[in-house]
């Protein structure tokens, strides 16, 4: 490098193209090393954050749950997945209380919103055939309007006991129907998107679930993940 510097400062000679290529290659290589290094360090933290957010969301949408079990739909039935097992089969979550009683499923779904894909998760109680909770995981809805699908408590509360048959509908005025959701004024498209995502996910999942009462048992010996601890850094979450 010293030699190069001397050439530059001594004479106003144009540097050869080899030197230009060398400079760019070196810069690219060092940049690649730096980025790869930081990626290696941050990846496990980012994955753990996502897994924790997803797990907390499952406990949130299945009220009262204290344990959960990941289940994959394989060969026409639900099979429990191990802690770090990855799969390409469709996945949902079963929530249980501390006494191993089954409470409900948590199903995730995504679909187009007003701006971008909305990714959400909702709880479903197969005994009562009702949606029992909903949480938006990712969205880019307009701040102040569309983002009320998760900021507006009154809207979110409508999903705490919502009949799914024949299908959930969106209404623009107060309705007593058990399957009606009151759309947010000024955010009708976002409200409809949430309902459509849930209806579509119901269409996929409800026929796959075992008959009510025959739910998969709670994880043996508490193998399922307990209440989220502060930092256990596993990467159980998977994209859908």
């Amino acid at each position: 490098m010293n030699e190069v510097e001397l050439t530059i400062s001594a004479g106003r000679k144009e540097p050869g193209s080899l030197r230009l290529v060398f400079t760019l290659a070196l810069a690219g290589m060092l940049s690649g090393l730096a980025v790869a290094g930081v990626y290696q360090i941050t990846k496990p933290i980012i994955d753990a954050n996502k897994a924790r957010a997803l797990r907390e969301a499952v406990f949130e949408v299945v009220p009262g749950s204290a344990q959960l079990q990941r289940l994959a739909f394989r060969d026409g039935r639900l099979v429990p997945l191990g802690r770090d097992e990855t799969t390409t089969d469709p996945v949902l979550y079963a929530g249980y209380d501390a006494e191993d009683n089954f409470l409900g499923y948590a199903i995730d779904g995504s679909g187009p919103g007003y701006q971008d894909i909305i990714h959400l998760i909702y709880g479903y109680d197969p005994q009562r055939r009702r949606v029992i909770g909903m949480q938006v995981l990712e969205s880019r809805e307009t701040p102040g309007l569309g983002d009320r699908i998760y900021r507006d408590e009154a809207f979110v509360a409508q999903f705490s006991s919502l009949a799914v048959e024949p299908a959930i509908t969106v209404v623009k005025e107060e309705s007593e129907a058990p399957n009606a959701v009151d759309a947010i004024t000024g955010a009708t498209i976002s409200s409809k998107a949430v309902i459509e995502i849930i209806n579509a996910a119901n269409g996929r999942w409800l026929d796959r679930l075992p008959p009510a009462g025959a739910e998969p048992p709670a994880p043996e010996g508490k193998r399922g993940e307990p209440m989220p601890t502060s930092d256990d850094g596993d990467a159980a979450g998977e994209g859908s």
Partner: protein
């Protein structure tokens, strides 16, 4: 090649390069640079602050490296090299924010990666860091970064107060406040920026006319 020799670097000079970015040559209010993030992420004060911090990290890091390497980078490929340096810092900032503060990272979205094309950063490399010693380059970058963050915060705070009735997420006016929703939408950004630019230009004009008046008085004596 250098605008300044190493021996010229006095404390006064460093101080001067530092403060000019905060006020006299503020990148937003005076030079009107970096408008894209200015509009996009200033709907809340906390987003504005996070964006300001991320930009500061990238600007100071790149200015340091560019100034250190200024004799080694052939001028024919300097812009490309600056972009590589800037992009590296941006990616590091992006990943770090995602790991440390996922909520804020989610709110800022693609605008973190878009720091790469913030003309303020490339502009400072080309106009300053590549022709000044490291200490001056650092002072300049820090001043510009603070000036930029200050401008973002001004806009973010006003828009959040008017558009959501809160500041840093704390409700200011109670439940009966009807938020002025347009202020947190893109048009509100333009309106607010216009108002702020108007205010700064008015201040500058007033100062200049005062100086002219003072000079005229001197002459009359």
């Amino acid at each position: 090649m250098d605008g300044t020799r190493g021996s010229d670097v006095t404390i006064d000079r460093i101080y001067d390069e530092f403060v000019k970015g905060i006020w006299r040559e503020n990148p937003v209010f005076v030079m009107v640079l970096g408008m894209c993030p200015m509009m996009a992420v200033t709907n809340t004060a906390i987003n504005a602050l996070a964006m300001g911090a991320a930009t500061a990290f990238v600007l100071i890091g790149s200015s340091l490296l560019v100034s250190l390497l200024r004799h080694l980078i052939p001028k024919q490929v300097r812009i490309t090299t600056y972009i590589i340096i800037i992009a590296t810092f941006v990616t590091v900032a992006d990943l770090t924010l995602e790991a440390m503060v996922p909520e804020i990272h989610k709110a800022l979205g693609a605008f973190i990666s878009l720091i790469v094309v913030n003309c303020l950063i490339l502009g400072r490399q080309e106009a300053f860091a590549s022709r000044h010693p490291t200490r001056l380059a650092l002072a300049d970058a820090a001043g510009m970064a603070i000036g930029f963050a200050f401008a973002l915060l001004c806009l973010g705070a006003t828009r959040e107060i008017l558009g959501s009735g809160s500041l840093f997420g704390f409700l200011l006016f109670g439940e009966q406040f009807e938020p002025w929703v347009i202020m947190i939408l893109p048009p509100g950004g333009f309106i607010m920026l216009g108002v702020i630019l108007l205010f700064f230009n008015w201040m500058r004009q007033r100062r200049m006319s005062r100086q002219v008046a003072a000079a005229a008085k001197e002459e009359a004596r």
